[in-house]
């Protein structure tokens, strides 16, 4: 069985936020409006974090695109009281919007703040929505799913054409949209895949690796100016 993962090359990331916008459009992530945004309620499954570079203060910013890291040992699924969030057999951490009771325990437990809450009913049945992604009601938690609906579609197509799923046939919107090709997506369990090869690079690291959450999003550290 495949183990879907992602490699993000921080040397290539320009901080352009194309991944963020592609994600919002693909997954019907609602714009919460200026007032709610000012209150800290932006929903952004993919978020580009910025940090001042300690080695070049005032001159250089570091960018860190952060989707859900799809941990293999996720702290969020451990604490869910109703099985509304779980890790599926292919390693994707899912959220069942119809079951979630909105206790926000998973949000408190996630060390990466990758889970978001619908404080109001933000999503309206408006035209232009992606019909493959369900609308979230108020009061539930939502999160990045590696565009899981795309996997389902690709798999259905392969099944209809009586063939195996091809590498590169399933790709989340963020990876597809990145103009700098900083995001590489694929099957980590296939040692020959590009994503598995990059994940073995000496530049590879994982966020908060010491917590033992085993994220399947791997970063390649900036090379320039760093030993």
């Amino acid at each position: 069985m495949a183990l879907w993962g992602m490699v993000i090359d921080l040397d290539r990331c320009t901080g352009c936020q194309a991944c963020v916008m592609a994600c919002k459009a693909e997954n019907n992530v609602p714009a919460v409006g200026a007032k709610e945004a000012a209150r800290g309620r932006i929903i952004s499954w993919m978020q580009v974090l910025t940090e001042e570079d300690e080695e070049h203060p005032g001159e250089k910013m570091r960018f860190l695109p952060r989707p859900c890291l799809q941990c293999d040992d996720p702290p969020c699924t451990k604490v869910c009281p109703v099985y509304a969030t779980y890790r599926n057999p292919e390693g994707i951490v899912a959220q069942i919007y119809a079951r979630c009771i909105g206790c926000r325990f998973c949000m408190a437990a996630c060390p990466y703040n990758a889970k978001y809450f619908n404080w109001h009913r933000y999503q309206k049945d408006a035209p232009g929505q992606n019909p493959d992604v369900s609308i979230r009601p108020k009061g539930v938690v939502e999160k990045c799913t590696f565009c899981h609906h795309r996997l389902q579609k690709a798999r259905d197509r392969a099944l209809a054409e009586k063939r195996e799923l091809l590498p590169g046939e399933y790709m989340p919107a963020c990876a597809e949209a990145c103009p700098a090709r900083a995001i590489v997506f694929g099957d980590l369990s296939d040692p020959g895949s590009e994503v598995a090869r990059l994940a073995r690079s000496p530049r590879a690291f994982r966020l908060q690796e010491e917590l033992g959450t085993k994220p399947k999003v791997v970063y390649l550290t900036e090379g320039e100016g760093r030993g």
Binding site: I42, V79, P81, V82, I101, C103, N113, W119, G139
Partner: protein, 451 residues
Amino acid sequence: MAERTDNLDAPLLAPIERTGPGFYWSVGALSVLVLWGAVAYWSQFSEGLGVTGLHQPVSWGFYVTNFVFFIGISHAGTLISAILRLSKAEWRRPITRMAEVITVMVLFIGAGQILVDLGRPDRMLNVIRYGRYQSPLLWDATSISAYLTASIVYLYLPMIPDIAILRDRLAKRKLLYTVLALGWTGSERQQRVLNRAIAIMAVLVIPIAVSVHTVVSFVFSMTLQPMWHSTIFGPYFVVGAIFSGIAALIVAMIAFRRAYRLQGYLKPIHFRYLGQLLLVMSLLWFYFTFAEYLTGYYGSEPEEMKVFWAKFSGPFWPLFWGMALTNFVIPVLTLARLGRHTVGKVLIASLSVLVGMWLERFIIVVPTLSNPRLPFGEGIYGPTWVEWGEMAGSFALFALFYLLFTKLFPVISIWEIREGRDVGLREVEERLLTYLPETGEPPVATTERGH
């Protein structure tokens, strides 16, 4: 004889027999606050949790703080009363009932906080339908419902003889008292069975009470978050719970002592003993807090230190140092010498501890959430009128429940006071004699006791 003792304890029945204007004023004032809470909750129910000040990353705030606080208060009761009963502390007699009532009432309010906090209260039953026992929230649900059940039984059992007194003496609410008295006649066999049952419940209730606040702490300590992931949290929360519980008990005792003129029953000596207990808990609380923060500081992991400094000198400093002042400095200063003005001093210390323990719960819940590990920037949380309303309503609802209880049942156990006069005195003397070495001379009070 029976007539004489009845009149002797008339002040205990007076609040049930007569109702003054003070009662109606209190109920009115409390109802206004409860109404405010209801309006606040209705606005949240229809519009979503967005009407609160919660956001990303501070997704837990007042409600979770109140949950931990109220569940903590519940330890007043049952635990203190059980320990005093088991240790045969004779001064417990006028106190136990008040303590047990606090527990039962406050558990409803505390468990209610979690329901108020849910984004989807309509799906509350999912916890039973799809319950996942690996989640600390399920441990909470189990432990708290067990505690609530045990506390209700433990409150009810010692009430039976008193309800029988009400049944025989009062003209009103005959049906209620007759049903609840379960045909109590006070026969020797009934007395024996009752005492046995109370003793069993007292033993049973202690481990349940300890488990309750331990698993409440596990909600935080089972996560990996800085300043939450701590092995000390279980006992730390239990100590804080007993600490705030005693304070709440003292405040309730002083309020009803004044309102129902119970000065003859609740004497300065009772407040002095409870005050000393409060002092011990204050020192113990300080010890735990010191151990917890020093361990974090000395290791100085960067993530821990971010939260640590947010509390010490960052945006939360007034709350953190306010907590240190109200939980440690004020109680120690007021309770160290209780020779004179006992009741006043104990009241000041208790009110201070109630504020302090609420701050302590807040300072545990919020700063960790507002300082995420990744560079998101610090989240500042400010509650809205909805959260203030819900909090005021919760406190008022608790007080209202308590007040209504005292109008239906005696707030001090009548039969246990009588038992103290009739049996307790002699029993204590006998017990005391068994502690002393045999002198060879016949003891002053010659009582035949077979071995």
